[in-house]
Symmetry: C2
Subunit: 527 residues, 2 copies
């Protein structure tokens, strides 16, 4: 209060910082809109947000050194992981085309798990070797691996925005999307494992238990997310909430469930990201048709809004923190070489994994070379890498946390601004985006969702045996579709005649396309 | 992660606590719904939430003493004031009938400013005298006044819920609502002033500057809220965002503006509560009709949802904290007498203020005795008192902050559970609620919004002069209505033929009544 500075001072500083953040958020939204409207793809919304954050943070940093003010600009990993990340990942799952995602699930898992592991190891080993050969600042071996894990977490926001804007092949979209979302969970696990290995004894025993722990966590998290979503579907099927005067209750509960799955998974030591992603996918499929028509309209807009706000805010928040954080810029060589090693690791991740996948896949389903190159380009680094790098400054108090943070920051800023800016040009050069490669609505949905064709190619390669197995897997996927249609959907979803057409009609609605007048139309809703 | 406890431990405890809070929130919603459905008014939704919070907090407290776990159950005033309070207050303003509010504005201001001041002083002086007469634990005079300010912040949630459920006179509703919302701002100001006086020199100079500071802040805050809302109205009138593919941008900006007004006011030392309340009133009146029809539907549901979540969560959060906070229960006498003094202060606040208002008002507009008694009953204490009491433990480190906190806690729990539970019975006995006293939609809207009648009563009382002035004020109110209709509304609001009927039709829509199918219907929106 004016004239009463004694007690309200700290809160006033908090208000000023939050005010600045709101203004910045508003600016970023407007700027993003202007950029989209004028089809300026070399400055993406995410890059613009990062830049605005950097500028505002820089100005605040110069003009005001007060601690209570800066405190609100600091990127807190806790806040990011508990409050900003869940809505983004949930909406990714909720707005997902499930069929291309699941028909490419094997490839996505390969890229996300094996690929991320390769990328982390390659980066880590190269950084260690670079240090040993006096090319760059020397990190101990375990810290090099930790750094490798940190910079292996890719961020999908920028690239997916381009894909949604310009259209691409559904399979490529599913690959990029799935890889970058699941990859975050893998990078966190690798990071935590390396931190743990650093404190504990090393050895093959430890390695095997880490791999086993990782598999358990992955499967457990998927299970947790799916079960929460199914319980939610049953609740809304039988609780009779879809009547007119209970929409507030209905919406409150729908909004709480995804967050519940995230926190449930995290609180039992599983991966919240994986859980909430699958919770989103399953909720959309089984729970959403059980909602009243108003609640459907409201919740899909709500999740979209919250996710856009969180997404934009993450980049601003990162920019603000980068501007005010004490960086250790003394190791320019380290930054330079780590960027090069990271790029090498990306190549060593994508192409071998794609080769393996193509070995197994039938000819008609091979990942073409231009898709592989596009996937390689899509490995920008974002908020997850930043959160892990910040975490490392706490986990390595006696180590080189600051150096790692500065290098990661440099990698993020460079990839988001430079690679992010040039992505649309490069993707156009690869001929993977454009009007012939539309995502979703304009594509022939029947065709794209067909169960994989059983092409008979009779080469006598040693992978023949694997191929047979994969086909069995595909067969099981096909029978899952039937099982879903005949058993699961009737069990979890109310058959009020309005459910399924709605669900299908709403797939892949891009950003900014508010669903509900369309929903009303689709259902011939007459007033 | 399982088997990797080194780093994820603290975050895991955070997840467990948040998980518990989500479950509690869900439970409270469902329980509140069941209570409403079965018309059980002696246990309100707010009381139920408080009880659930107390129980869950109690269990957590017994079973787990870990600090990082308890940390997430602590009620943080900062979090309450910056994140939970703004949506509640904004939605109060947004869902307000503006006309009864403004036609009773003089009375509301009298109750809120003069009444709260009386209540704080009476409580403070009685507590000091009680201590001096050895009736109860002795607080120093300034701390007694501080305590008086803390327990003068009333909470509207429970009573307004009953009014909305059972219906009441629009003027009584406006009085209770306006008093309890503005009263919070006054209590905060008084609290901060007393803390400041405690540190600085005392004297009449200081008192006058405090009063002047208070008036400046109050008027300044209203101005800030109104200006932000008008800028928002103009933005949406001219920016052309109400077209089909920009609804995401539109909704993001609408959601940011109220928060902007709150933070703007707080950051320049004004009262955020007052600013966001008036921002809500003005945004509803001038900005809302400028939105696209989808955005209107979405934003009104959005604000309602966020406000319900925040409201319910505040009581749970308070319950959790009360259960785990170290209370100093040694001063039972202090608690007992402070409750009695608080009740006396409430009486000393309502009836003299009502007498003063009735002196000035024409006969037809007098506040009847049953309304005065109802107003007296509606003085429950809630989250704002709790936040101030917690704040006092920091502001009085060497003082009796703990005693004040415990007494405030006891007052809150008792008034919410006992008075809150009996309110509906007592209000029924006063014949102020029930079907003949409906709020909003079923009332004759034309009639209730008429400009005040100029009844000529010719008593020669000394207040005659004041009466004349008040009538001039009323006249100015009447001309404001005309000014608003002819000048302001056309200036700030797009005249697309869909704006105003919509706005009027949506007034006073109670809880749980999602607006948008009704909006579509009202506008003859044909698909």
């Amino acid at each position: 209060m004016a004239g009463v500075p004694a007690t309200g001072d700290q809160q006033q500083m908090a208000s000023v910082s939050i005010l600045l953040q709101i203004v910045t958020l508003g600016l970023a939204f407007v700027l993003g809109h202007v950029l989209r409207r004028h089809k300026i793809y070399y400055l993406q919304e995410a890059s613009a947000s990062l830049l605005i954050g950097l500028i505002v943070g820089g100005i605040a940093n110069i003009s005001n050194k007060e601690e209570s003010f800066r405190k609100w600009f600091n990127f807190r990993e806790e806040f990011f992981l508990l409050f900003l990340l869940p809505p983004i990942i949930f909406y990714s799952g909720f707005s997902l085309h499930p069929k291309p995602f699941f028909s490419n699930f094997g490839a996505i898992i390969t890229f996300a798990i094996l690929g991320t592991f390769i990328a982390a190891m390659v980066t880590g080993i190269l950084v260690y070797l670079g240090g040993a050969l006096f090319l760059m600042y020397k990190l101990p071996f375990q810290e090099s691996l930790l750094f490798g894990a940190i910079v292996s977490a890719t961020d999908p926001v920028t690239v997916l925005a381009i894909f949604q804007e310009l259209g691409t092949d559904v399979n490529l979209y599913a690959l990029v999307f799935g890889e970058s979302v699941l990859n975050d969970a893998v990078a966190i696990s690798l990071y935590r494992t390396f931190v743990n290995v650093r404190h504990g004894p090393t050895g093959s025993q430890n390695f095997i238990s880490a791999v086993w722990g990782f598999i358990t966590i992955f499967v457990g998290s998927i299970t947790a997310g799916v079960i929460v979503a199914l319980i939610c579907a049953l609740l809304f099927k039988y609780a009779g909430l879809a009547v007119n005067n209970l929409q507030n209750l209905e919406c409150c509960l729908v909004v709480l469930f995804p967050y519940f799955s995230y926190m449930l998974a995290e609180s039992v030591g599983l991966s919240g990201i994986v859980a909430i992603l699958f919770c989103g996918v399953v909720m959309k499929h089984y729970m959403f048709p059980n909602l009243s028509i108003n609640a459907q309209a409201f919740t899909s807009s709500f999740f979209e809004l919250i996710s856009s706000l969180a997404e934009t805010f993450v980049f601003i928040y990162m920019g603000l923190d980068i501007a005010i954080e004490d960086q250790s810029w003394s190791h320019v060589g380290f930054i330079f070489f780590s960027i090069i090693f990271m790029l090498i690791a990306r190549v060593a991740n994508v192409f071998p994994c794609a080769y393996l996948i193509n070995l197994i896949r039938p000819l008609s389903k091979q990942i073409p070379m231009n898709h592989q190159k596009a996937l390689c380009l899509c490995g920008l680094r974002g908020a997850m890498a930043f959160a892990l790098a910040l975490q490392s400054t706490h986990d390595l108090p006696e180590g080189h946390g600051r150096t790692i943070l500065t290098a990661t920051t440099a990698i993020i800023v460079l990839t988001v601004l430079l690679i992010g800016g040039s992505t649309s040009t490069m993707l156009e050069a690869l001929e993977v985006i454009g009007e012939n490669n539309n995502v979703g609505e304009t594509a022939d949905e029947e065709n794209e969702y067909l169960a994989p064709a059983f092409v008979t190619d009779s080469d006598g390669s040693p992978s023949q045996n694997l191929k047979t197995r994969f086909r069995q897997l595909q067969q099981s996927t096909t029978s899952f579709t039937a099982f879903d249609k005949n058993i699961l959907t009737p069990f979890f979803t109310a058959s009020n005649g309005q459910g399924l057409p709605l669900l299908d009609g709403n797939h892949g609605s891009g950003k900014g396309s508010f669903a509900f007048i369309r929903i009303l139309l689709r259902n011939g809703y007459s007033l």
